[in-house]
């Protein structure tokens, strides 16, 4: 009996997780809070992902947006395909299938004692939120913390409540911008790179982290290098198509690297050796 259970766990069979709360930060994104039958299912690292499944609708890789130190386990889901569309129609009390967590996750120990410069673009804020919250929950372990966020437009901004907290927080130096402004928008308008002139960092002790849409990486890396952060101190989390999460199906492969196993978090030194990465 027990052996069977272990075998199931290692294959494609998901565990059932119950939706306990749903919030909708934007028109296209919802945040689902999940409850698992066993507590060990909650163990993960920031920037890891899970395979979410609803039978009939398939599976999709979704980043975990809560911190490992949070009481709650949360996923932020954008409506883009059949599974995510279905997820958006679910209600509190419904069940979904989860397997994972997969991927390497963020090596949090390399951040300890360092200054941090996080850059999130669009939905990239979801996986990065896991790390942001972890840093804020363990604030004493880290040096200066700068957080940059760029959304497409004011109503595409994720986690607006938390953003308000970050804006006023003494623990984080938060800057944000939108690509396209709106009438009531008083903040910055421009690409995320336009935020870099506003910040001052100590390149000697700063670790840069980038999560965002594929187009963003090249440009943000360039800004970070301009700020004299070294290659080895820049980390990024990359998005690829995934079907198995187990390093087999081949969809997430960029050159010789399976993102689902060796990623999604990469050091920029390694990324430079992978032509298909960014």
């Amino acid at each position: 009996m027990e052996a069977d259970f272990i075998k199931m766990e290692t294959g494609y069979v998901p565990v059932e997780a119950k939706i306990t709360k749903i919030t909708q930060p934007t028109e296209y994104e919802k945040v689902f809070t999940l409850d698992f039958p066993h507590k060990e299912h909650l163990k993960f690292l920031p920037c890891q992902f899970v395979m979410v499944s609803i039978f009939g609708f398939g599976e999709a890789p979704i980043s975990i947006c809560s911190s490992p130190d949070d009481e709650e386990f949360q996923l932020c889901v954008r409506k883009v395909g059949s599974l995510t569309n279905k997820m958006h129609s679910l209600k509190v009390g419904d069940f979904i299938g989860i397997r994972g967590p997969y991927g390497n996750g963020f090596p949090v120990e390399v951040l300890e004692g360092k200054d941090l410069l996080f850059t999130a673009g669009g939905l990239g804020l979801a996986p990065l939120r896991s790390l942001i919250r972890y840093v804020l929950q363990n604030r004493e372990k880290f040096g200066d913390f700068t957080l940059l966020y760029g959304a497409r437009s004011p109503h595409d901004r994720l986690f607006a409540d938390e953003i308000s907290e970050w804006e006023t927080s003494e623990f984080v130096d938060f800057h944000e911008t939108v690509d396209i402004g709106e009438e009531n928008w008083m903040g910055n308008v421009g690409l995320i790179t336009s935020l870099f002139p506003m910040i001052g960092i100590d390149p000697e002790k700063t670790i840069g982290v980038i999560v965002g849409p594929p187009i963003m990486y090249q440009f943000v890396v360039r800004e970070m290098l301009k700020k004299e952060i070294t290659d080895k101190n820049i980390f990024m989390s990359l998005e690829r198509r995934m079907r198995c999460g187990l390093g087999k199906c081949g969809h997430c492969q960029m050159n010789g690297v399976y993102v689902c196993q060796e990623g999604p978090v990469f050091n920029y030194v390694d990324v430079q050796a992978i032509q298909e990465a960014i």
């Binding site: 069979v13 069940f95 594929p214 187990l246 087999k248 081949g250 010789g256």
Partner: protein
């Protein structure tokens, strides 16, 4: 290790006996070609075949494989197939491919679906007296012979086969049927000498296709990353995916759900996929990481000759020539490799 002696005219009897107790898979005629499939009668099984359309390894990794079942009550079960199978008459190149796939699917996290199918299967190899076609490069690859990856190996000895037993499973099968048949007598000659004579004959009829040594390929290939060659290949390629489907070491797949007509139960299955398909590397947001045919072609060849050697220490191409035969546009790995060799400075 034991060596048995099996007169060729007794092979049919042996196959019949094996068929009584096992599911047997082997080569059988299909129009003017051969397919590797389930054998129902001993007469169907052919040992004198050239490359089969689909490779034997797909017996363990079938298309449209059911991996999960879900019931209307929410209950989910993992589906595994485990039946004792005998793969009768596998060529050395395909044995290499099976070994490679064994390694891929047993590398953690393991793939139980493959491993369950593979677990109790017995592989009977058969050495190749002559090359299968002019599209193969097993001689360059060294995969025209195999030292492991089989339980029994048939060696052609004119009127008879020498049957080499290398594993306990092979021994199990050989002794099981030697009890029933008296023609399994142990071979008394010097097997090492026989083998080296056999390989010498192979050296005579097998042809080298590449202009340089295979060991130089990964590096030469790496150098070709930005080569014009890939654009030429890309222009010819129809992105039909045939090369991937017939390849014995292609294992990329897609996963999809099939709902029953009652709209409640159903199953999840995996299908063979092809990295030559336009949307293979497309992500949810629409970004396509290999949108050009040249990039996809390069990826296919690099996966075989750069990434796998780099990550696993072996080449992902066993030189069976199936992709070269299947490509109606005439794209051939032999040409690609030789072009890569000639380009390298």
């Amino acid at each position: 290790m034991k060596i048995y002696f099996l007169p060729k005219d007794k092979v049919k009897l042996l196959v019949e006996s094996v068929l009584d107790e096992f599911q047997v898979f082997g080569a059988k005629a299909k129009e003017m070609k051969f397919e590797f499939g389930k054998i129902d009668t001993a007469a169907e099984l052919r040992l004198d075949y050239n490359t089969t359309i689909l490779p034997p390894v797909k017996t363990f990794f079938p298309n449209d494989e059911k991996i999960l079942e879900f019931k209307p009550n929410g209950q989910t079960t993992s589906v595994h197939e485990n039946s004792k199978k005998v793969l009768f008459g596998v060529h050395p190149c395909d044995i290499h491919a099976i070994e490679m796939m064994d390694n891929i699917f047993s590398t953690p996290p393991e793939d139980k679906h493959y491993l369950e199918r593979r677990k109790d299967s017995i592989i009977i190899g058969i050495n190749c007296n002559t090359p299968c076609s002019d599209k193969i490069l097993c001689y360059d690859k060294g995969t025209y012979k195999a030292d492991s990856g089989f339980d029994l190996m048939f060696w052609d000895n004119g009127e008879s086969y020498l049957v080499e037993v290398v594993t306990s499973l092979g021994n199990f099968l050989a002794s099981k049927f030697s009890y029933f048949f008296n023609f399994f007598t142990e071979y008394s000659g010097d097997f090492h000498e026989f083998k080296s004579e056999y390989h010498k004959r192979q050296d005579f009829v097998f042809e080298k296709k590449l202009t340089r040594k295979i060991s130089e390929l990964p590096e030469a290939m790496r150098q070709s990353y930005e080569s014009e060659l890939w654009h030429e290949v890309g222009a010819k390629c129809l992105s039909c995916g045939s090369c991937n489907i017939v390849c014995p070491t292609c294992y990329c797949f897609d996963v999809k759900d099939v709902v029953d007509i009652d709209l409640a139960g159903g199953h999840r299955c995996r299908n063979w996929d092809s990295c030559q398909n336009l949307d293979f590397a497309c992500v949810g947001s629409g970004e396509n990481f290999r949108e050009k045919s040249s990039q996809r072609n390069r990826h296919r060849v690099f996966k075989k000759e750069v990434y796998l050697p780099q990550n696993k220490g072996y080449s992902g191409c066993v030189g069976c020539g199936r992709c070269n035969t299947a490509c109606i546009a005439g794209i051939s790995l032999i040409d690609i490799y030789n072009n890569v060799f000639s380009e390298e400075v």
